[in-house]
Subunit: 540 residues, 2 copies
């Protein structure tokens, strides 16, 4: 029987301390749903005491009915005060979270320098704060800040602080390497010492300042820790937190611990990429386990060996974490994949020749920078077209953009107009529209042209727009990939466009998005009804 | 007295196996000089048997008179043949390198599956190949490919292979975790076993497939390994090689080994960034030790503690590795941050009123969607302006974009032209330029207008361009934030622009970027000398 490890995700709290990571309440809700599906046991949503955004998140998160324990973060009470008087603790209790993480000091130096109080008062702060949240029926997790530095400086005091937390009823005592400066051997020794002295469930929380956060987490588990705190893709302050995306498969596939189900582990790659997309941080291609290059084989010898037996140059089978091997053939180009995808769409795929042709086309497009993993709708259009199951709905003759800032000093708004020439059915439609940006203007002109023919187009809106530079050489002249996400009341779909010209790439994704929408409308009798403004997740 | 560890850099060989990493001979020579100054002991330059580019590199590298031992990479001889008949070994000898790395098999499974020969023949290949390069007066380093997998599968054979290499006179026997799948505890156990059985200097070569390459290298050193092989920034196939940029300070500052001088360690940050520039890969902001965020502190408790004593939230002093502390001016916590930032820039901040005014301005801008933590240069311009320490260099009257796709079906390229009207000094400048996108066209027009006044502008190039949608409601009409990163031969800086119009936001960031560059040029007397075409750096 395998030992299980509790996975505590703090992407939404500590993760947002990372430079350049900022998430709206909306973003956080989307990520929380993914984390819950992945099967983590705790989702730390934020610090309701610190800002209104987090209060809103907790309010709305209650409606998600998560399996994971929704957790709120806060500090032990202020010095020389009481918990009842502490506004942050009050917010924490009122957040509606099922568990509370309370961070407290265990390093005497910090008690003196940062808190500027006495060692005794700090122990009282820990005891009373833990007891307070327990009294209010929350599970209590004690994050012992700087524990390892504290233990090295004054082991007796560091241990005394943990003992206080346990005495007050803490459900978990988590040892934090807050500054990320501790080595795996030290972690192993100190955690072993703690587990021998403190009879409570122990957790580990590490940072990556020495590029050792993953190793330190594993060392702690080897020494008896049973909860691991970390973030998706290792987001976090300075060099980041421990990366759960690497820790999960290491614990489960290599060390024989159980954390999540095998099925959930298979979603690891898509979760990591999804969170990266929402945070608008492109995943490093070489990210362990989930990067697009993690199982990509370049050099000749490797490839020939791989073809003989993939075990020769792969430490695990990529499928276990939902990733794919990439050799000469790109992920989509395997004929079997194409055929199964086409059958999934109910297409007639008897003609082998056609699917070959299609594979070559997709290979070519991917080589040019298209990426269909994030653009299901564009892929479906491609397939339907290849298998002769789509009318284009409309064709584009030409389009133009004029963009002008007549007087910078005068603070006048920019004028942007788009002119598009289309053919719908037999008719030519020639329309012009303004917008407060080129893409908005094109979108408006396109809708204006199509509305008379397809009134239901009114229900479609763009829900996300992302631009990625593909080639960093001479960036403004490089190719860009635009990903557009669109929604109606029923559905959300993504399309892609690639060009050295961001306007052209955006237009391409825009046209795909509308085409896909019109196709599914004509396919399903039921034209989507208008969307109530109130709905959070759909019509953001 | 401290034990010294030999540092073997393979950035120029294994590092170039990384996806998206490709280096010209020119690039490699520049990097070799930096590595030599950093003080690594071996520089593996490439595989002269595999391609002409590497042969050229070795030819030209001889003229550099490196302190480090220039090393050439190759494989043990072909099966059922002789070393004298082996073309690759011939190239290796003729390369003029002082040392040779020979990779050979130690995993029986690989001997059968990949080499498809007998276990005996493989031992002969190892023995004869090592003896051959020794006979030709080269130092011999045996890279035992897949050693750890091999040891787990068949310890006796794996050890026998190492013994053969030693018997043939190998100067170093390097244990490779080629697939990157081994855990630190396993590395420690197996290396301890090897050092007890093989009386020869042992090295370690790890890969990062489990995000454990750094930890595995340290574990091997703890078990007696005395050479560490790795690459700058961890470049390498799949998930990369062990990152020397993290290993060096870990060994030297935390574990008490000596590798390079303290002065050389202070150049670590600039070396890591330089190699990133040449490889044209932007360094992750959160890269341990050397990233721009590695010692960056975001608002609140941390900052106030840092100001009391930086030891509170820093595991080492950033200066030891040539990095520096940054207080991120995000959700601009109080006056103290602004004032300290201004003082850092050597500005006269006596007027409290002014800094108050400035804080309100910055708060307002951040509320509008600006984000200065990722845009130091825009923040600096703002501060200098507020404290009356900047001439605008040029002012913008107006700008226009025309963007046209005359015939979609005709597959004609889009035409994009930008027209800008500026004032430089007293003069009005009115220029037009084409580009393969609106931002590129604006960039070209701006340079065209300014080049006659500031020729050094030719040395500046955009190195990254990011677009982030701020308000997800009705996205194409939402506000966007554009972040632009620019570089010259000396430096890298970031600027920000926000608008509902992506063109306007890009223009704003572009103008800030050029203004900042011109300001620093005029501030430092030495206008950066024009850079010869031949140097990859500027004109990528």
């Amino acid at each position: 029987m395998t030992t299980s490890i509790s996975i505590f995700d703090t992407t939404l709290r500590d993760g947002t301390q990372g430079e350049g990571i900022s998430l709206t309440a909306e973003d956080k809700l989307k990520i929380a749903l993914k984390l819950d599906a992945l099967g983590v046991h705790y989702i730390e949503g934020g610090n309701p005491g610190s800002n209104g955004k987090d209060i809103e998140f907790f309010k709305r998160a209650r409606e998600l009915n998560l399996q994971a324990k929704l957790t709120a973060f806060g500090s032990t009470r202020r010095k020389n005060s009481t918990c009842e008087q502490d506004v942050n603790l009050k917010h924490l209790i009122e957040s509606g979270a099922r568990a509370a993480t309370l961070v407290g000091k265990t390093w005497d130096f910090h008690v003196h320098t940062a808190l500027q109080t006495t060692l005794e008062e700090n122990l009282a702060m820990i005891y009373e704060s833990i007891a307070y949240v327990k009294r209010h029926g929350l599970e209590a997790i004690f994050d012992s800040e700087h524990f390892f530095d504290g233990y090295k400086a004054n082991p007796d005091y560091a241990i005394a602080a943990l003992a206080k937390a346990k005495e007050a009823g803490a459900d978990w005592i988590v040892l934090c390497d807050t500054n990320g400066g501790t080595l795996p051997t030290e972690i192993h020794d100190i955690v072993s010492r703690v587990t021998s002295l403190i009879q409570a469930p122990i957790g580990i929380h590490t940072h990556n300042d020495c590029e050792l956060a993953v190793a330190n987490s594993l060392a702690a588990v080897n020494a008896g820790a049973r909860q691991v705190q970390g973030t998706i893709n290792g987001y976090g302050e300075r060099c980041g937190n421990a990366n759960l995306v690497s820790i999960l498969p290491n614990l489960q596939l290599k060390m024989g611990y159980s954390c999540i189900s095998d099925e959930q582990l298979k979603s690891l790659t898509s979760v990591a990429r999804y969170v990266g997309e929402i945070a608008n941080v492109s995943l490093p291609v070489n990210q362990p386990y989930v990067g697009t290059a993690a199982f990509a084989h370049k050099g000749g010898i490797h490839v020939s060996a791989i073809l003989k037996d993939s075990k020769t140059y792969e430490h695990i089978s990529p499928e276990l974490v939902g990733n794919k091997q990439r050799v000469l053939v790109s992920e989509l180009a395997g004929q079997s994949n194409i055929v199964s995808k086409a059958q999934e769409l109910g297409l007639e795929v008897s003609e082998v020749a056609k699917s070959r042709e299609l594979i070559d086309r997709i290979k070519k497009l991917e080589h040019e920078g298209y990426q269909f993993e994030g653009a299901d709708a564009s892929l479906e259009l491609l397939l339907r077209e290849a298998f002769g199951d789509s009318e284009p709905m409309f064709t584009v003759d030409s389009f133009k953009i004029h963009c002008e800032q007549p007087s910078v000093s005068g603070n006048t708004d920019m004028l942007t107009e788009a002119i598009v020439k289309l053919r719908v059915g037999g008719q030519q439609v020639y329309t012009v529209a303004e917008g407060n940006g080129p893409v908005n203007a094109l979108d408006n002109a396109l809708r204006k042209a199509l509305a008379p023919f397809y009134p239901a187009i009114a229900n479609i809106h763009l829900s996300d727009y992302k631009v990625r530079v593909l080639d960093e050489k001479d960036t403004t002249a490089a190719k860009v990939r635009v990903l557009i996400e669109s929604s109606d009341f029923h559905d959300t779909w993504s399309t892609v466009g690639v060009s050295s010209n961001v306007i052209e790439a955006s237009w391409e994704a825009l046209v795909d998005s509308i085409r896909y929408a019109l196709l599914s409308m004509t396919r399903s009798e039921s034209v989507p009804e208008a969307i109530p403004e109130s709905l959070g997740l759909v019509n953001h």
